[in-house]
Symmetry: C2
Subunit: 404 residues, 2 copies
């Protein structure tokens, strides 16, 4: 008799965003006339920019003729894309990352979820609290945690690093030494950024303890302030302790196209084993490359036209972020983020719990956000709104929030 992976049973209920989607769908079905504004899931709404559309059409045409048809892509990504990434995202910022240290994938979520596989099961992970659920859930599935502790509302065997108002939403070095440290800056869900000097402390700590940092820089494109690092490789010594993951979803609207990448420097070695070679083996065995046409779309992100068009698109979303934050502040809310990131992290009204506030906003104002407690116990009493709606919807949402 086959036995199932019991670790899945430790996960409470369904994936956060699936739960949100179900609640919203149920409400919409019961109230078809309600004009719901969705500022919950971090999904973009602006269309792909012309440079990307052009690249897609061009690549599709290539697939139509025998001379230019492309079959299986190279496991780790096409050179044209890996080179563009290395040059633009790293070398242009003074980070010494080479094209062959970049692994192209079908999205940062997949990389975030899969990367834990190359580590032993008995490692201890450290995560911020609140945190993007994929880091923890994928480790639960792998058996790298204990049971879910209902009282503490988190998992035994995981080091949680509280990120609250008191510490400006920045994790502190934990008292117990972790093996694998998940950091995400600009942060999801709090929207707060980390300074380079602050991130350097983490790099030094990891190099000293032999830990590995998994650095999720999915929101890098929204950084507006000086002194905020775009890549962990801006820090000295990061190549011997850090993996970085990036997404094309938020900077270029690829949520429905699927493209991301992970950087593993060749110098990153633990116990004599090269992490680069393990991940290459994983990619080669369980993945078959991102679609050629999507990789060509990714290349267009780095073209002159693409860069200019995307700069405008990000400015559009950031105007939304400022609008929400200013509106919330005017309405008397306490709100964070929204400066170097498309997320606004606000305190709920009237000491409501996060889910109470979710239901209130959905039922009364027809606004969807994400309950802070869905990101962890320390997110209780907070709520995440995103800047990814249209400007018109954002204005309307702010109007409704002010009416509360």
């Amino acid at each position: 008799m086959v036995k199932m992976n019991d670790n899945y049973q430790k996960l409470p209920g369904s994936y956060l965003f699936s739960t949100v989607a179900k609640k919203v769908n149920a409400y919409q079905k019961a109230h078809p006339e309600a004009e719901i504004i969705r500022l919950g899931i971090g999904d973009v709404t602006e269309p792909l920019v012309p440079a990307i559309i052009e690249a897609l059409h061009g690549a599709v045409d290539e697939m139509a003729s025998r001379e230019t048809f492309r079959g299986y892509a190279p496991d780790l990504g096409y050179d044209f894309l890996r080179n563009a990434i290395a040059e633009n995202d790293f070398q242009a910022r003074g980070c010494d990352i080479q094209a062959d240290e970049i692994f192209v994938s079908d999205g940062a979520k997949c990389d975030c979820g899969n990367l834990q596989e190359i580590f032993a099961v008995d490692n201890k992970i450290a995560v911020c609290d609140p945190v993007y659920p994929v880091y923890v859930d994928s480790n639960v599935m792998a058996g790298r945690t204990g049971m879910y502790n209902k009282e503490r509302e988190n998992f035994d065997g995981v080091i949680y690093m509280p990120c609250r108002e008191e510490n400006n939403f920045l994790p502190e070095l934990p008292s117990e030494t972790p093996d694998l440290i998940y950091l995400c800056f600009p942060n999801n869900p709090t929207g707060e950024a980390i300074r380079k000097s602050e991130l350097q402390e983490w790099v030094d700590y990891a190099n000293k303890t032999g830990a590995v940092i998994f650095y999720d820089a999915a929101y890098e494109a929204y950084i507006a302030e000086e002194g905020v690092p775009h890549s962990i490789y801006e820090c000295e010594g990061a190549k011997t302790c850090a993996i970085e993951t990036r997404s094309f979803s938020k900077n270029a609207g690829f949520t429905g196209l699927r493209l991301g990448y992970t950087v593993i420097p060749k110098e990153l070695v633990r116990g004599g084993v090269s992490l680069h070679s393990l991940w290459a083996r994983r990619h080669g065995t369980k993945f078959n490359g991102a679609p050629y046409i999507v990789q060509r779309a990714g290349e267009a992100v780095y073209s002159e036209a693409g860069k200019a068009q995307l700069k405008e698109q990000i400015a559009y979303y950031m105007r939304n972020a400022r609008t929400i934050k200013a509106g919330l502040t005017e309405a008397g809310f306490t709100a964070y983020g929204g400066v170097n990131s498309p997320y606004i992290w606000l305190k709920t009204a009237d000491n409501m719990t996060s889910w109470e506030f979710f239901d209130y906003l959905l039922n009364k104002l027809h606004i969807v956000g994400t309950p802070g407690s869905g990101f962890g116990a320390q997110g209780e009493g907070f709520f995440r709104l995103t800047a990814f709606g249209s400007y018109e919807n954002t204005l309307e949402a702010v109007k409704r929030l002010k009416s509360m």
Copy 2:
């Protein structure tokens, strides 16, 4: 200090097709004038058919305007595609599979590699020998096997089911009872098919023992003979013991587009746990949907125009298969497969080992195939050629083989 997943160290060298690619690239570099014909990796060469190209362009245009832009796809696939699959691939053949039992993915290789995750680590797997390397390698990485046994040239703790000339390349029920059974028909690499009555025995066996069958039907579109099942769900009772995976790569040329799907019937339950719900949780946590434009391309596979155009494309490849097989037979080789599959499985010349024969063909005839021993110990002395080249190249390859 972080510890790496030691199981990766059990894997000997690199993934088979990476090794083949490296050898071919090295030879081509040293002999730039050599006109190498690639019949090794199972990669298609014909362009996407017009119905698919049209669907792709149409979907790209949708992504260019705010009104029709699509962000995150539903985790498990768009309904338009899941419905088309359920109707055409299953219900039209009398298999009672519903759309919500279909999980759309970025390819069958990923599904083959990832599906083992939902099973406990202490299950015992059974695989055919020779076999598609992903089934075994992904289980090695998960720690579900022992060490690599150099003498036997396979892994301790895995039940290998020899598929040789003596048993018409069909596995026999193993003496030790497995928990998870990998079957692939029409088979990769042998190209041989299984009859429905023969597959029914496996279904009955799995239902009796509580095992689960992972059925890889990636080559279903090449079935030409009556009595050969297109889906395991044609067998009675399969819905309580079998998972089936399909690919769009071989039937529609999607190797570079990436699309596949896995069927898990809701009736498939072990130890009180629904496998459907575990896989849904896995998909929701570690995957973010296949690209919208690619799912629209998948839908076009089931349109009237798409079906007609793809029928021709498959006929084109099958003419290649017949040409290779007839040529090999004429040249005095013993060859199998090529009737219900695009693969020809031949015995090497002069009792050469598979890799000797690989080197011989590459160096002397400039033909690339895949060494049988790369698929397992029982593949030694065999060699795989694919029908996925152009007709002209296939004729030229046959000419060269006859010249031996």
